[in-house]
Each structure stands twice: as structure tokens, then as C-alpha cells.
Symmetry: C2
Subunit: 271 residues, 2 copies
């Protein structure tokens, strides 16, 4: 089910700036039997993104009502909220008084092999590197061609994700998840000041692991980690089994975070 | 008037990847009384973009027929062709057999002061720098948040454009036009290997000035030019009168290119 500006609809204006320029933001939120444990973090990120892109923030209560409505009756669901700067004249200038477009839609949970959570997943080391743009770094905006190109680098179904570096060879994230490396017993996740998306699940892990570090993480150092895991608001905590020829086993930090995820109310397996 | 996949329509699917990820390309083509002198160059760029983004190229004859149809009866018009990877499942992976969405729409010509072509326009030096992404550089793709942010840096109506540099302080382009600098009598335009859009009007100027150079152009060198001008498929050849406090007069190369533009069939002024 989908609501566009609060009304059931399947289409948007062909003049929407979300289509014309990718001028907007999105959130993908996991619901389990009507509850979204990370909802407050999603709303926090959306508000921060609106501020940085100068988009008016929609009323959070309407968003929550609409999100609940579109996934009503679904055991597990992904709700995508897309917020654009709405219909505008041709040209990059922001309309003086934008009327944003708000799309709230539910999707079935993506299928993941149960073994993914037990044994981990395999990652392709992407040849696409992320461009460095501090003005957009961290935001979950609608300009996602880099991720589309990176995801197109492999089609082996045994590979579930890709590892992305920036132009300076620093590990940044997976294509659609954040990355943690455990090095000398300390969990660390790459700084997202120049590129990457500041994931809601990543923020939850950082809150659960106060000793974790956020810093630049050169790829070679990342690959020497004792544990690697991905964090995703939709897929949860995914151990990394291999990056190319480098192999890893799920370790104690990964397992602790999976337990934390279960405690939050997320089942670790989906059909 | 607007055609979506050949049929009159005002909307597109809310699941279109053009909206979801900016997964597509566009062209803005100036028509004068039904003729588009740069049409072949636009089609060439679109074909190149489709190849790089792995999009199926629509039939060029259909595109031309649709472009003519939407601007029928208009003395001057801008036709925007938007091509997306169409409706897809949630997730970055390209659909195995994409059904692209093709939007062909006409807009009135933007109004420009006639003095702009005589005396030149003023440019703001943008604080937003373009990120360097060779995999997307040159393409007129739908990921345009950098341009939206750059254009939002000023609202003085006396300033018509902004000058954009890359992260290394090299001049690249205007926000929605390409840039030429005349230095020691030689016209040069910045290399677009790392960022920027390879403009159709820029290509036309390069063809008309075989001695022109394409190379890296540090901002300070650019600002010391004897002439600066912008090239745009919609707005033509625009002399630059000032970049911040640096002032310029329209010089002989600029005037020669304006004459060339008139020869192509473009009037230099619009109401």
C-alpha cells in the first residue's frame, strides 16, 4: 500500500523535483508486527537531513500514522518514506515556498538466507569508489547512482553485498549497509564526514557499544580485522564471512550485537 | 505538453527508479520554431550516457517525433527528455530486463535580460565544490543535488549563475552551463574527466574552435582570463561580466561564438 501526501496513490507528478534532480531524502524502516523499534532514530535522521537540504520537515505524527497504516496487517514490512522538494519550475533554484511531496509505502521484507545470520555473507570488493562530498555526506538522499553502479558490479547470487571505499582507499560502507570492523578487540566504523550514509542501525550499534570508535579506516587495516559485520535497519546485523579472498568468522562483538538486535524486537531471520 | 512513454500524461509511477535513486539521464533541448540545431549532439550524448549507465537507448526516431509533437506551435521552447531505468523492485540492483520510462515535455524558454548577451552576466563564486566521480563525470544524469545546493547559495536576482570548482580548486563549470576562459588568446574549457556535465553547447563550441584546449584550469588562472563565457544548450553563449569582484568584458572569442550561435539558427535574445 502507498500513500502520496496522505492519500492512496500509485503515481507522482512528472514535474516532481525528486524525479528531476533527486532533490529529496528517504528512509527505509523495518516494522515487525506493527512496531518499528528504530522509529525515533529514523525521524531524527530525517529531521537532520531536512535541515541540511532546507526541506520542510513533515509533521512526525502524520508520518507515523501513515507508516502504520501502509503496513497494517503485515507481520514483517519495510516502510519507505520518500520526501521530495515537490513540484517546481524547471531549473535548479529551490522554490521559495516548496510544497514537499511525501510518499509512504510498504514493501515485503527482503528474503535472506537464514544462514546469512549464522555463518555470514560474502562481499564483493567494489571497483566503484564513493565520491567525497561533505555537503551531502551522511544524508540518505535520493542521489544514488553510485550505489546503482556499485551493485551492478556483480551478479553472483552467493555474494550478498559489496564493500565500498572512497577515492583515497578508505573503507566506507557496504552498498546498502554500514560497516563495523573489530580490530584488537575494539569495534570501529568508518567516519562518514566525506561520503556514505549515516545509518540508523549504525547509530544504534554505536549507542550500544560506547567504546566503539568512529574514524578513518584504510582498506588494508579493515581487511585485517578479526571480525567484520554490516548493520542495516532492514536486515539487522550481518556477519561478514568473506571480502573477496579474505575470510572471517562471526566473533563475539558480532554475536553481542545480534543479541542486542533480538532484544530490540527484531527477529534475526526472515522467510 | 508532456508524453510519458509516448502517451499524454502528467504523472509517473511512484516506484520509478528515476525518483527512487535518480537512476536515469536527461537532456534539455532548445527548439526554435520547430527546429533543434543541436539535436544530433543531444542524441549522441544520450546514447553515450545510456551506454555508461547500461540503459537501453530509446528509438531515436520516436524521440524526435515526440519532441516535435510536444513543442508544436511554440516559437521557442525547451524540450526536456528524461530517461529512467523505469519501475523496479526496491533495492539498488538493476532489473535484469529494465523497461525504461521516457518522459518528453516542453517548457517555455526561460526569460533572460537582453543585456545579458550584450554586457554579460554576473557569477557568484560557489562555496559548494563538485565531488570527483569519474564513473559519472560528464553525464547529464538525474543526481543533481550538488547543483541544487550550489544554486541555493545566492538569491540576488542580479546574479545569473554560479562558478563551481572541484574539491581541488579547479574551475569546472557554471551551475547549469559550461565555462570557457580565453587566456593569452587561446580558448580553454575545463576537463570534465572527474566531475561536471559534458555540455552539448560546449561540444559545439569545441567543434567551432579547433584550436581550443580542454585541460585542468585552476581557479586563479581562470579568474585571470581576458574573457570568460558560458555555454548552454538553452541559453546559448553568455559573456561573463563578473565573478565576484573580478570583472571582464565580452571579447572577440565570445562575440565570434555568439555569431556562430546566430548562424546555427538561435536568436540571441528571448522575451
Amino acid at each position: 500500500m502507498r500513500l502520496v501526501d496522505g492519500e492512496p496513490a500509485d503515481t507522482i507528478s512528472a514535474d516532481d523535483r525528486g524525479l528531476g534532480y533527486g532533490d529529496g531524502l528517504f528512509e527505509t524502516i523495518r516494522f515487525v508486527a506493527g512496531a518499528a523499534p528504530l522509529w525515533p532514530r529514523h525521524m531524527q535522521r530525517l529531521a537532520h537531513g531536512c535541515e541540511r537540504l532546507r526541506l520542510p520537515l513533515p509533521d512526525p505524527e502524520s508520518l507515523e500514522r501513515e507508516a502504520r497504516l501502509v503496513c497494517e496487517g503485515m507481520t514483517g514490512a519495510v516502510v519507505r518514506i520518500t520526501l521530495t522538494r515537490g513540484v517546481g519550475e524547471r531549473g535548479y533554484a529551490m522554490p521559495a515556498s516548496p510544497r514537499c511531496t511525501r510518499i509512504v509505502a510498504s514493501f515485503p521484507m527482503p528474503s535472506m538466507a537464514a544462514t546469512a545470520y549464522v555463518d555470514g555473507i560474502r562481499l564483493h570488493l567494489c571497483e566503484t569508489h564513493l565520491a567525497e562530498q561533505p555537503k551531502l555526506a551522511g544524508l540518505k538522499h535520493l542521489n544514488r547512482l553510485e550505489q546503482v553502479l556499485a551493485r551492478a558490479e556483480w551478479n553472483d547470487p552467493a555474494i550478498a553485498e559489496g564493500l565500498l571505499c572512497d577515492m583515497h582507499g578508505r573503507a566506507i560502507s557496504a552498498v546498502s549497509a554500514n560497516l563495523f570492523a573489530v580490530i584488537d578487540g575494539v569495534a570501529m566504523t568508518p567516519s562518514l564526514e566525506r561520503c556514505g550514509v549515516a545509518g540508523v542501525a549504525c547509530a544504534e550499534v554505536l549507542a550500544a557499544l560506547p567504546q566503539a570508535q568512529v574514524r578513518d579506516l584504510p582498506l588494508d587495516e579493515c581487511l585485517r580485522a578479526s571480525e567484520l559485520f554490516l548493520t542495516s535497519s532492514v536486515r539487522g546485523i550481518l556477519p561478514v564471512q568473506a571480502v573477496g579472498d579474505n575470510v572471517y568468522g562471526p566473533g563475539p562483538v558480532t554475536r553481542a550485537m545480534q543479541a542486542h538486535w533480538a532484544d530490540l524486537g527484531f527477529p534475526m531471520e526472515q522467510a
